[in-house]
Amino acid sequence: MASEKPKLESLQRDFDEISKLPRLSAAAENVDKIIELLSAAREQVAGALDTHTASSTMIKLQNPVKTAFESIENDLKKASTSHKKMGKALNESFPLKPLPMDHDAMADHVPLINRAIAMHLLREGQFSVASTFLNEVQGQTRREASVDLDDTMDEDGHEHVNPTVSASFSPSDKYNLSESRDLHNHFSEMYRILQHLKAEDLDPAISWAARNSKHLETRGSNLEFELSKLKYVWLFKGPCGPDEKSLHSALAYGRKTFNRFGARHSAEIDKLLGAMVFAHNLPASPYAKTFVTESAFTDIASSFTREFCSLLGLSAESPLYLAATAGSLALPQLMKYTQKTRSKGTEWTTANELAFETPLPESMLYHSIFVCPVSKEQTTDSNPPMMIPCGHVLAKETLTRLCKGTRFKCPYCPSEGLLKDARQIIL
């Protein structure tokens, strides 16, 4: 792989060189020369206005004009050579590899892609771009719908003007719009709270967490407590190190707030309040670690974002970003596969499962994958994983195949079992 790295660098080097090569601007200068020649000739002829001057000037003009045109041609040739060098550099360091274009699985799902993009823009805080986009999408959908109505009379198997298709899309677009308005509100709230967190103002986040306290708790999230804890620490340290005033307000805040977290977080609350005693020598105290706040605000901002999105049923990172990134990582495998199958004449039909592996980094795996160790198939709803009495797991179809009557022998240990004792499990 190391040998491939210099390619981009040599491309950059080549491009740097090429941008120093002659360009069209040289030709413009030489056109000036012709203009000068012509103007001078015109002056002479117009000044004298006699036949002799005219003919001798014109005869003398011929060669210099010819030479000047030749140099323009030369300039053009040089400019074109520069372009050719660029083409050569591209072919050498960035050779064109045709992308798989035969089958566009996404072509029929433009409304869904639009929706994903709109949600992505909102999530990224690009509210104005998102609303421009939604307006444009709406406008186009409306235009297309009206065109379709005009065309219904001479429908003749032409797929692209199918009124039923676009009619069935419009309601979902309306749904999109109200949905996106909701999302817009949600995400602008999220950005408002994040802005405050950036400025070390925890209150908006705390009140959001209080409002969603129940949901957060069912999720087993500690966000609400973590926010209160940070608020306490922040008050404790005060604007210029712990002093009487800051300790006082921290204590008052702690008394008011920590009570309701008592059951779950008593150990930590003890620590927080115990620190009061060491306030004047905190770094040397056993509580030093709790009171380091350098990254605390960025940490809490990212866990806030995660919880906020999860409560909306959304992934914390933009799915569109993840999918595009995964797409560029998996694309080489797809291309290798299409090349191979094409040369064999077999085409990749849209089955349930890809026919080739597309390894992704660990951070992009979100579900446990179970591949039956016997059949080597991934388990699905119709062929779920089954745990047999000895604790080993097989796909259901494998188990049925292993069965002799109602009994089977585990392929991995000496134990035997009954089919009725196997349990379907959810991984």
Binding site: A27, M58, M101, H109, H160, G327, Y366
Partner: protein, 407 residues
Amino acid sequence: MADFGASKINHDSHLLLDQPLLRLPYELLRKNFRSAHVAYLKDSKYVTNLVKETAGGSINGKVKPQDVVKNLDLMLAKMRGLKRKIETYSEEENRLYRQSNARVSHLRELSSIHTVDDVKYEQWSRNRLDRLVVDYMLRHGYIESASALAKERDMSDLVDIDTFVNMSRIRQSLLNGSVNEALAWCNENKKELRALQSNLDFMLRTQQYIEMMRTTSTSKMLEAVEHAKKYITPFNDTYPLEVQNIAGLLAFTPDTTIEPYVSLYSPARWQMLADIFTEAHLKLLSLPNIPLLHVALSSGLSALKTPACHSHQQNQTDNHNTSSLTTSVCPICSTELNALARNVPYAHHSKSHLLEHDLVLLPNGRVYGRSRLDEYAAKSGLPAGQVKDLVTGELFSAEKLRKVFIT
């Protein structure tokens, strides 16, 4: 199984989606040069000939000195015009060079990034997504959105708004029932279109003929015949059947019910013309004929998708109840992509990949990592010896847990 090598970036194959980024300015440079060259050839020929003629004429006395001055003025006007044209082409060339260099340095940034876990990679990949989204918007005609996003992200050198605005304009004029813009474009790119064996010119000329026939006025129909003689019969060898049908159209009025004349009169032809034009335009500029975002998504959705993403069991439980200890919401399960990913195949795995390893089975059939269950029990303030299902919230005695062996 997650491959450790999978997070390594292969610089050679990682830029497949970025090929048009450099190819387009290169194609535009060539196209710009061709236009400059054509303009030069025309004007230089004119001036060279006129110098020669005037010189000859003034020697044998056929051209008077006043006319010599007049001719010189004509030549001057031509050359001044040429200069303006070349200056414009030269500015465009400079812009394209600047753009190419900006793009190469942007791509080069990747060569110092070696794994996808590098924080710099995220920045780079986000930028790529922005480019893909702008490309998608431009191709679907959402020009304002594309410009707004490009401006917001400060990446005007990395996207090709002008090219697509131009394409959209011509495409839209076809959809509105006008061939003139498209014909002009054909004319500009005659040679290249011939090399691509594009039938666009023929189709446009045919459409003009059809529109004349549609009027059913005799004079217009005669004009149509003249038009056909001039522009359509030269295609007789290439498209014999079509030319024959077109000739036959003379016998049929627009309300005919007989094929192929119904199709010839059909307004759906405009959509077809727009598509033929778009295809030729993209091909001429070495641009892929489907949006790059589509390519990225169809491979990305599949790579991320698992059978669990659209499973009934998994979806029974509302996302809101998912514990924060369970892994973060999967991008395919998330609302944005879930419906879109429904019809793509899921990723192929030849080995099990488990997010946790100390697996235990709960009496309700769900399997979790033991340490995670314990952690959740502690966070939920459960008494010792009890665990809580991370998804359903059911409580169980820890004695009921059974160890699961994954081979």
